[in-house]
């Protein structure tokens, strides 16, 4: 191993590294976002209070059972096996020739969705019961309570865990090389096929993975801070009479 050889490998194959990195990022970003949406939806559905009687009760129970099965199944099996079954299974059994990138995004999404719905459930449980009651007391129904009061707080609370999922996804997309998705790990293997320099190539791969996960972590931390808002607030209509509350509201109106 030498530094020059690493540099040489990078100089020769940087377009492949770049394409691989892009593919990895693309799959994990879309997968994480789709997974989070699935998780949030399932979280809302699973917290709907079960009606006491009638057809609605049966529907709610059946839907809950299906969702529980989905979560158990996808959390309980490795993603690499899911990838095999979904990609080759759909080709052999259903004769659907899935686009590999689509398959990759699909697999990461539903896998993340299963984990996220548990994270969201935890997030909803951790919101104080008083928030639900206060929302109901001003006449909000379940959907409005969730949409305007509970979910914004849940999203803030689960952001660290979501960042965790994102980082895991960036790394775990490497298993998708088994269905020949040209993400970073797959590209690295191709490069090695040309150069036979395992160490040099994967050293670069390692650094690229680290840069991606580290950046994502930092960006999410920044987002958390932004969401929390400023630590201080401006007191309006104080003795200096700079601005009265009415003016402030009017100004905000004009700005909108």
């Amino acid at each position: 191993m030498s530094f020059t050889r690493i540099a040489q490998t990078f100089a020769d194959y940087w377009p492949m590294f770049l394409r691989g990195s892009w593919s990895t990022l693309y799959i994990s970003i879309i997968g994480t976002i789709m997974g989070s949406i699935i998780g949030l939806l399932i979280g809302v559905i699973r917290t709907i209070p079960v009606p006491e009687r009638g057809i609605k009760k049966i529907i709610v129970i059946i839907v809950n059972a299906i969702l529980s099965a989905y979560i158990a199944l996808f959390r309980g099996t490795p993603m690499i096996v899911q990838a095999m079954i979904i990609f080759y299974g759909s080709a052999e059994a259903l004769h659907i020739d899935m686009n590999r990138t689509f398959a990759a995004v699909f697999i990461v999404s539903i896998n993340t969705g299963a984990y996220m719905s548990e994270i969201v459930r935890g997030g909803i449980i951790s919101v104080d019961k008083g928030q639900f009651e206060a929302a109901q007391a001003i006449g909000m129904n379940h959907i409005k309570t969730m949409r305007y009061i509970v979910m914004p707080q849940v999203i803030r609370n689960i952001l660290p865990a979501t960042g965790n999922e994102f980082v895991i996804n960036i790394k775990d997309t490497s298993v998708l090389s088994v269905i020949s998705v040209s993400e970073l790990f797959y590209q690295s293997k191709s490069i090695v096929g040309n150069t036979y320099h395992y160490y040099d190539t994967f050293f670069i791969t390692c650094i690229i993975y680290f840069i991606m996960t580290f950046t994502v972590t930092k960006v999410l931390r920044y987002a958390e801070k932004k969401l929390d808002g400023p630590d201080n607030y401006i007191l309006l209509g104080n003795q200096m009479q700079v601005e009265k509350p009415e003016d402030h509201v009017k100004k905000a109106k004009a700005a909108r």
Binding site: A134, G139, M140, Q153
Partner: protein
Amino acid sequence: MDSLIEVKHLSKSFGEHTVLKDIDFSVNKGEVICIIGSSGSGKSTLLRCVNLLEKPSGGEIFYNGENILDDRHDIYKYRTKLGMVFQQFNLFNNYNVLDNCVIGQLKVLKRTKEEAKEVALKYLKTVGMDQYINAKPRQLSGGQKQRVAIARALSMEPDVMLFDEPTSALDPEMVGEVLKVMKDLAGMGLTMLIVTHEMGFAKDVADRVVFMDQGVIAEEGKPEDIFNNPAQERTREFLSRVLEE
């Protein structure tokens, strides 16, 4: 008499445990009613049954003559007519003071943004919190939070205000500011139903005092009568216990 809310034979049990037994009770327009009684006597449960945060096990509740426990009755619309103030404030943590008072008007009453803000500001002024419209709930003291919570409930312009021990979670020096606001509201002719441990306040402000004991209304009447010569032995016992402190 034009009674706004009428509770008939209301009962509530949690599993085996019976909290309310056959309660008959009514709220008239413009009346200020204080519900007193020791902990566990069912005062808060009664209040929470009135706005259906707890589902009554039996009995009927009429609002303007309509049975709100009827399946076809729109409970969401009914709740907008009742403003609720909680012991633990329960301000929406994800909104600042102004938006706490705006969100319900916007999403439930479907008012316009401008109108909602004006209304919110009007009531924030009533409770003396209009300077703090930018603050988040976590940045406020207990007394300030409770005043904002009162403004939030008022912003929905309800027919009745329900207060569930509004000062019990406050530091002693902040109790005064909240009670003063409530006194002002009573002076404005608002219909109020207040569960409280503040006997002095009940004596001053209430038109009627309801004393609850072990899930039933033991005695009700004018504050002078209840406080000065209660008819029942248990009322006397309770009052001597709390007034001693």
